[in-house]
Subunit: 221 residues, 2 copies
């Protein structure tokens, strides 16, 4: 292994991956960006580095990424999350962290949350990984549109939740360097259900109010 | 009937009822306050009027209240909502509006949303009232603590949702006069599920951050 990274994005070449990569890199982090195709990941990394004007992202194959990162951001849509986890399950180690940013949603005359036996998407993914890594929910309520619009300050709150307080702390160390974003500890993983429901509300508001990046802020903390 | 009211609170003598009555009365509305016991309702109304320093609330028996109000705020805890609806169902008329402020929640090592077959509490209550009144969800995400603290501006957003846009409009005409509170149209009644999930998050945050009135604001609208 040539290099190890604090954080990487598995299958991170989509819009949500791009947004998180941009915000974390702009905050000073060096990141790994993965794809099933190393070539595709390298191409995407090159584009992001060009946009940033510095060499912050390194593209690689997902397997190599999982082997070289302490913290793995899962930025695929929820419907693909289970498959991606299955594909790389053998590569995970139990002391790694899987940062779940997905929202279990379908579109049927507007967005609807998937029924997962009363569980949040994050709890569902954790149940697929009984031996680790530890799942931390984060970036659930920020749209890729807001994240990618790197010249606009976010000026809102974002939430982190996990059943492991140390894992939550490790994620906060990385993400809290993004400027103009306050991180709120939403508690155990089951609160992810509230965060996922907020995203649903935001998508509805974006449509109803004809905006692209509605997001939330907690008053009174 | 001696008098008719734009808005009244069925079984409104609890904390949430008190908070909504205070805020609406302070915004200029004259309201009816109901209880199973007319005497208890009159006593509570007297206390609120004394706190406000003017005669804005009139206490009465729930049956009289249902017969004399255009808009009925249901401010009991969700676990009692079904019973209250059953008790006064014969008194409702289809052109009335039932403003549901309840959150279907139980406490089991922290707050948890009740499973209602994938439905929100508001949709569940509407399903019990197939012939009306029309259910409008509102005041779901504001705690009684914040509402009752009448000398503190709310400085946040609150949401209204319903499958009937005209019913939503009629509620907005009344509630939008509360100062320092922005009302957001959250869309159809099914978005009540997101609002109820926000309340759950707020209760968790209140405990974790040792505050009493966390509430939300939408950024980017």
């Amino acid at each position: 292994m040539a290099e190890s990274f604090r954080a990487g994005l598995i299958s991170g070449t989509g819009e949500e991956g791009l947004g998180i990569a941009l915000r974390l890199a702009a905050a000073g982090h060096t990141l790994a960006l993965g794809s099933r195709s190393a070539e595709r990941a390298r191409q995407k990394a090159l584009e992001i580095n060009q946009q940033l004007g510095e060499e912050k992202i390194q593209g690689m194959d997902n397997h190599e990424l999982v082997a070289s990162c302490e913290m793995l951001f899962l930025t695929v849509p929820f419907i693909h999350a289970e498959k991606v986890i299955g594909e790389y399950q053998q590569d995970f180690s139990e002391d790694q962290i899987l940062v779940d940013v997905t929202v279990p949603m379908v579109f049927d005359k507007g967005p609807r949350l998937l029924e997962l036996g009363g569980k949040s998407g994050a709890e569902h993914l954790q149940s697929l990984l009984p031996e680790g890594p530890t799942v931390v929910g984060a970036f659930k309520t920020l749209s890729s549109h807001s994240l990618c619009d790197i010249d606009s300050p976010l000026d809102c709150d974002e939430f982190v939740c996990s059943d492991s307080p140390p894992a939550k702390e490790r994620v906060l160390e990385v993400v809290s360097q993004i400027p103009s974003l306050r991180w709120i500890d939403a508690g155990p993983l089951r609160y992810s259900r509230s965060l996922e429901a907020i995203t649903l509300l935001e998508i509805g508001l974006n449509r109803r109010y004809k905006v692209k990046g509605s997001r939330v802020q907690v008053v009174g903390l």
